[in-house]
Amino acid sequence: MITIEKTSSEGFVIENVSRRNFLQGMLSASAFVLCVEKAPLLANAARNGAPIVGAPVVGMGSVPEIDATAFHPGVFLGIQPDGTVLIVAHRTEMGNGVRTSLPRIVADELDADWARVKVVQGDGDERYGSQDTDGSHSVREFFDTLREAGATARLMLIRAAAQQWGVAEGECVADPVHVVSHKTSKRTLGYGELASLAAKQPVPKKEELQLKSPSEWRYIGKPAPGYDVTDVCAGKPVFGMDVRVDGMLYAAIAHPPVLGGKVKSVDDAATLKVKGVKQTIPIAPFTPPHHFQPLGGVAVIADNTWSAFKGRKNLRIEWDNGANASYTSSEYKKQLQETARKPGKAVHTNGDPDAEFAKGGKIIEAEYYAPHLAHASMEPPVAVADVQADKVTVWSPTQNPQGVQEEVAKALGMKKEDVTCHVTFLGGGFGRKSKPDYAVEAAVLSKKTGKPVKVVWSREDDIKFDYYHSVAAMYIKAAVDDKGMPKAWVQRSVFPSISSTFDKDAIYGSAGEMSLGWNVIPFDVPNFRSENGPAVNHVRIGWLRSVANIYHAFAVQTFANELAYAAGRDPYDYLLALLGTGRMVDADQPKEVAGKYPYDTTRLRRVAEIAADKAGWGKKKSGKGWGMGMAVHRSFLTYVASVVEVEVDGTGAVTIPRVTTAVDAGIVANPDMVLSQFQGAAVFGTSIARTGEITATSGVIDQSNFNDYPVARMNDAPVHVDVHIVESSAPPAGVGEPGVPPMAPAICNAIYAATGKRVRELPLSRNGFA
């Protein structure tokens, strides 16, 4: 029997769906299953930032007739008669820790015993709203909803116990964990024993819920190891690369070397002679814009991965490279730099910078440049699809399971509902795996072969056919007063936009990209304008961990450091002076965001102070091959300051003995996971600064593997990354990405302190450093 309760007109709907078929086979018939639906506060805000800020949201379960155009965060939890609590992780696990942090929020308000919680990974389903796990908002968007879900279930368990005992609800408490106790008689009933009775309780209204005060939290804010850590260390979790389906074929695809290229002719004779190769299949080129369509090319189908790779090597293909064969990075760079020198489109203006510049005086200007980057997650793109007459099943390491459903359905002319997407573990994502092109390839090939097909990208495919982080040229100028403080500041950035992936005519940065560290600066400058200039894309552009913040923070935080030296001041003291005493910055945030997450420079100043203090700023004199550098940046609503210490030897070899980072991310769900994210971000940022560079010659990407696209290894990563989390009662903000942007400028500022050599173009390997 299904009971459905709708409790309020405020968009908050909880349904008791105990008899629904969700988790069928996993839950016994008498299990208690609860689904919470809640209209999101910030859904529209996230949409305005599109497509970078993936839409919020969660989901799980079979909840019918929910308006597909709205966002409906929700979460399922189930309690088995044996007391096992099932909690769905609706977001993708890729090292971000969501399979631990999200369920623990539910478990906390439920007063569940964490040892008896089983985490279930959610499939893709539009009825849950978007599940796109990027934009650092898993905890931030779902914190309240998940707490309410847990609290709702707890109250229903308490009411079930009260009913069983025939006592007042107020005499019952959920204490200790996993048990409801009667205060006076000391009787207890376990959650499992109460499951079937709880399932019959009406769903309480939101105002009946009693959320815990932070001092009562069991799990939130307490460090916890990863839910899957033991399995991971045993090599047990199934990553996309590890999926095996009966009768599965393996495919490797020869993609057009240049974006938009087409096959002119194919000779597959040598390929078909390779043991294990079954056939070759052409894949049609995409129709612009490329969006998440397959790139086209020729697929080699085999009965194992190795044979598919070997067969592909033996293909002889003549390509029509098309218009993008004109793309050569060195030429393109000059165009971007030229554009950045000319006035662009105003993005945000305060005061009248032109009038201030017209007054003359001391003007300081600089140009910055940062190249394309590839994601290079350790697991290259991979997917398995099984296309049958009326349904499709996809197993994919995806950050965006509903994107998989949509794109696969579109490619096959089917309905999205007919596509099931199982989300595997991800061997890293960093934004690459939000784009489902590789799952579409698997589906297209499964349809053509009539068998399940696993498409495996090699590392070379991954590096050569990525959705690249954008290349950017930036220009900044400031008019400074006699103390060296800026009176006017104009900054201009030029880069091929992510929008070009969705709109072939898009040549300007989106509002979302502008909001990532460019539309405003945290500095107290009375006359300010940010601008953006046009650029045409020649490769697929995508979002990569912290996105446009990377190049924007590099330019702004390096320029601030240049101003400090020009003023003859200590860079940290000068940075504090630039930040001023603390104020709210009008950052063009959507109203819903601005209300909950105002841009408060006091918090940025505080992390700067903590990082400087913990790093021992100023205790040792920079120079002679040793130096400290600092950068501050707010991204994904989190305030970060990083101090980097470098040593540079006579050959230009750079080592990074220590990074000291201070983070104010509001309330944090799992501090140890936050430490991990920031430790990892310091390494990721080091890779960007040291060697991160993708270039093209005649449209063909020059790099191919970790030999020519090196990423930081243990011996060139920062040796120690000390992370200090600011205790805060502010709403949770992002933690997966915000550690990245300050790294490149902090490293470069440290190198300047150590050597006097200013780095205005990334990576360091372009500047005589190694």
């Binding site: 890729m94 090292g95 045993a234 090599g235 199934v238 350790m378 290259p380 140890d672 243990m714």
Partner: protein, 151 residues
């Protein structure tokens, strides 16, 4: 026909002798704990033990493995977690976890030749294993931890 031992059990293989051990383990034997990362011995995700020493399985063609004794991540924990795995969990090393089987196998090999490695030994011994999530600091700590355990 190639004869080899994988995690203690005898195997024979009569396919393409060029097939790397990596793909034999993964696609033929179904031992997917050993990962594919680069195919060029640049990242270490495919690290296994060959006669007790770490090798990159993506660069070991089956044709050259007659008589080899191979141990994979599945093989070191047949009787409960290996001390290195315990240390890894203790320090909560993994983020995405994809490279960790390779890191762990490399660390097992390192500790077998240097039971009490210095930081420098660890950096030198582990530099061939990439972790894109950046867990290096914790890997270093976990290896020191494991070294205590096995002392």
């Amino acid at each position: 026909m190639v004869h080899l031992k994988v995690n203690g059990s005898a195997q024979t293989f009569d396919g393409d002798p060029e097939m790397p051990l990596l793909w034999y383990l993964r696609d033929i034997l179904g031992l997917t704990g050993t990962k594919f990362g680069c195919g060029m011995a640049l990242c270490g995700a495919c690290t296994v033990l060959q006669n007790g020493k770490a090798v990159r399985s993506c660069q070991q063609p089956l044709g050259k493995l007659e008589g080899a004794n191979i141990t994979t991540i599945e093989g070191i924990s047949a009787h409960g977690p290996h001390p290195v795995q315990k240390a890894w969990a203790e320090v909560n090393v993994p983020q995405c976890g994809y490279c960790q089987p390779g890191q762990i196998m490399q660390a097992v090999s390192l500790l077998s030749s240097r039971p009490h490695p210095s930081d420098q030994d660890i950096d030198d011994g582990m530099a061939g294993n990439i972790c894109r999530c950046g867990t290096y600091q914790r890997i270093r700590a976990a290896i020191h931890e494991a070294a205590k355990e096995t002392a």
